[in-house]
């Protein structure tokens, strides 16, 4: 990487030039569907992606582009495409690489919808997935086939918090000539930049820490530009004639941008999960303070871990920063600033006490999201991961008593008081009904 502004500076400035006409300092919301062409030649050149510019907001939009460029800068990618949600980011990535008959190797410990997309949706279209444990590099290696088009995992798995040993898996992927795609939602580029450690494509649910305010859905695909798509015939979507631009070979004409061009010219064009300009604006507002927020998320997480570990009504606490986490060493090596602000724990007394706890907290919010500035709690088994079969639940490391905490930015004393009170109420309520 070139001599560049540092993380917090990029978070505030990257991707934007103050507009020339009005000098607006904030990123303007370009709430428009379409853009006036200079003339017919300009229009044709834009449609054929011969020059840069905007045509129609399903394909690109100036406000969304600032967000894309800022994310590319923060992750160290050659380009990014922002989309409507984290799920559409994953889907468009698969769409750009895989066709019927192709194969994916994926981590087994992930967000329920990520698993379901592979297991139940893509399988209907002839794309098969083999799952491997995130902390078992040999398992990944053994699962790779000649028709494998990507290796996928969540850097920090939701909600079990298993860690993918990125450099190890990246070496396996490179050896096999397969790109490593990682969901970096839980780590954010502030904790860990996968592209610096050998990953090739990063996807995000921007809905979470990047936004941080819980007001806007969004996703992004960041292209590392560091994969040789032309090394063999494995990636025909990028190296054989593309129907969209007069049979152009994307790898030859766009080089490190080939994958991004496929995503934009097919994923956005033919599927179209575009991010609204207003949501992009909100996500940019969040991104401006990502560094500051992450510092506080991580210090509050440390305090919460100490609090929970010492609390008599907590049966177990799981977080990669704790010595007894199976991936503790990997986490320390890859993420010295901490392994995210999600904590899994079990309340003594099992599922019913856990339920009572979640219903008794007042400051923490019971809802289906993570990465908000506000502290959140949920029981994954009956909500976010409830669409998984009992076997898949077990495979995903989910126990029935697990509670997931997304540690927010509140004054920690207030959080501790809220949790302590709710734990006591929960203990009593279930104890009393016995």
């Amino acid at each position: 990487m070139a001599g560049d502004y540092k993380f917090d500076t990029l978070g505030l400035h990257a991707g934007q030039s103050p507009d020339e006409r009005f000098g607006s300092r904030a990123v303007p919301i370009h709430q428009t569907t379409s853009y006036v062409f200079e003339d017919s030649e300009h229009a044709a050149a834009l449609f054929n992606m011969e020059i840069g510019g905007h045509i129609y907001s399903r394909l690109s939009n100036p406000t969304v582009a600032v967000l894309e460029q800022r994310l590319a800068a923060l992750e160290g990618g050659v380009a990014a495409v922002a989309v409507a949600s984290g799920m559409s980011a994953l889907f468009l990535t698969v769409l750009a690489l895989c066709s019927a008959g192709d194969h994916i190797v994926s981590s087994s410990q992930m967000y329920g919808a990520n698993i379901n997309l592979f297991e139940h949706t893509l399988s209907r279209y002839g794309v098969e997935t083999t799952f491997a444990k995130p902390n078992d590099p040999d398992g990944f290696a053994a699962a790779i086939r000649p028709n494998t088009k990507m290796i996928f995992g969540e850097v920090i798995g939701n909600p079990g918090l298993d860690i993918v040993d990125v450099p190890k898996i990246a070496a396996i992927a490179e050896q096999a000539g397969v790109p490593l795609v990682l969901d970096a939602t839980f780590n954010t580029p502030w904790l860990f930049k996968p592209l610096d450690h050998g990953a090739n494509i990063v996807i995000h649910s921007l809905t979470k820490w990047i936004g941080g305010h819980g007001v806007a859905m969004g996703g992004a695909i960041i292209d590392g530009g560091n994969f040789d798509w032309g090394q063999n015939d494995r990636f025909p979507t990028l190296t054989s004639p593309h129907y969209a631009f007069q049979q152009v070979n994307l790898w030859e004409e766009f080089g490190p941008l080939a994958f991004t061009m496929r995503v934009r010219s097919e994923g956005m064009y033919n599927v179209g999960p575009c991010l609204s300009p207003t949501n992009a604006f909100h996500l940019l507002q969040g991104l401006e303070t990502l560094g500051l927020r992450m510092e506080r998320h991580m210090s509050n997480t440390q305090k919460m871990l100490a609090f929970l570990s010492a609390h008599e009504q907590i049966g177990w606490v799981r977080h990669p920063s704790l010595d007894d986490h199976p991936d503790h060493d990997v986490a320390k090596r890859l993420m010295p600033k901490g392994a995210g602000s999600i904590i899994a724990c079990g309340v003594k007394g099992g599922r019913e006490v856990g339920r009572a706890f979640i219903e008794s907290v007042e400051l923490a919010s019971h809802l289906a999201n993570v990465g908000d500035a506000k502290t959140l709690v949920i029981h994954p088994g009956s909500t976010t991961h409830s669409h998984l079969t009992p076997q898949a639940m077990q495979n995903a490391g989910l126990t029935d008593d697990m509670i997931r905490i997304s540690v927010g930015l509140e004054d920690f004393d207030d959080l501790a008081a809220d949790f302590d009170r709710a734990l006591k109420i929960a203990g009593k309520s279930v104890g009393g009904s016995k």
Partner: protein, 266 residues
């Protein structure tokens, strides 16, 4: 297309269009440590507007194999050979940076094949900082980082781009990193040791255009003006706010400059 030039298979982009050597041919030559992707936002546009475009990756660059060429005259001879092998009798030549030196050399040594010469961010000589040369040999990735840093102007450093979602600085450094190890050092050495620019410029007879970047830190615009003054028939086209990597940074302006100068393709 892939063709054999002097025994090595090289890649020459035709902008994704079939190539006709009898049309109005444009030969676009990339600079030190770059590839044909220098012309990402000009090449396909021109190819789709009737020009017959040849954008080679020099040996050991981009998708071309082979040993890197080590002098500007060798590169010019290589380009002449490329034209010969593709059946081109006369071409409008466009060169960026080191590619401009190659263009000067080609136009002075083989005037019959060069219909016009466009020199983009070029000067009569491109002295190379010895520290950079040393880095290119010992720690290439550092040299790439330094060149990417110096090569981009304000918009590059603010990660803004006309192509939505593009990060120019990271794009440039990845393009450079895609070359064979040693290619950058060979290029920079060739630039450093080339002192024929002034003589070449004096002997060029074809019409010339100098596209200069106002904020160019690698081949400063004032050096470009000196070059324009040395050439017999040269126009200047200065792009404000641009750094050395102006083809990606100010792509549309570069196209405007080119189209204001080049003849309409037949």
């Amino acid at each position: 297309m892939k063709i054999d030039v002097n025994g090595a298979e090289v890649f020459v982009s035709t902008g994704g269009r079939p190539f006709d050597p009898d049309g109005t041919v444009l030969l676009l030559i990339h600079g030190s440590g770059q590839t044909h992707l220098t012309w990402l936002l000009q090449g396909r546009f021109l190819a789709n507007r009737g020009w017959q475009v040849l954008m080679p990756d020099l040996p050991a660059h981009g998708l071309s194999v082979g040993e890197p060429l080590t002098s500007i005259p060798d590169m010019a001879a290589w380009c002449a050979q490329l034209l010969k092998q593709t059946g081109v009798k006369r071409a409008h030549v466009v060169g960026h940076s080191q590619g401009g030196l190659v263009g000067l050399e080609l136009a002075s040594s083989q005037p019959e094949v060069v219909a016009s010469l466009t020199l983009v961010a070029t000067a009569l000589s491109i002295p190379v900082n010895p520290a950079l040369l040393e880095l290119a040999q010992s720690r290439e990735e550092k040299a790439i980082a330094a060149m990417t840093d110096w090569g981009h102007g304000r918009e590059g450093h603010f990660h803004d781009a006309t192509m939505p979602g593009l990060d120019q600085m990271n794009f440039t450094s990845h393009v450079m990193a895609s070359n064979e190890t040693g290619a950058l050092f060979a290029d920079l050495s060739a630039c450093a040791s080339y002192d024929g620019g002034e003589d070449a410029a004096r002997s060029v007879v074809c019409p010339c255009l100098c596209i200069l970047a106002e904020n160019d830190r690698m081949t400063p615009a004032r050096q470009g003006r000196k070059m324009a003054a040395t050439l017999t028939d040269a126009r200047e086209f200065v792009i404000s706010g641009a750094g050395h990597m102006l083809t990606v940074e100010k792509p549309y302006e570069v196209l405007k400059g080119l189209r204001g100068f080049l003849p309409h393709p037949a």
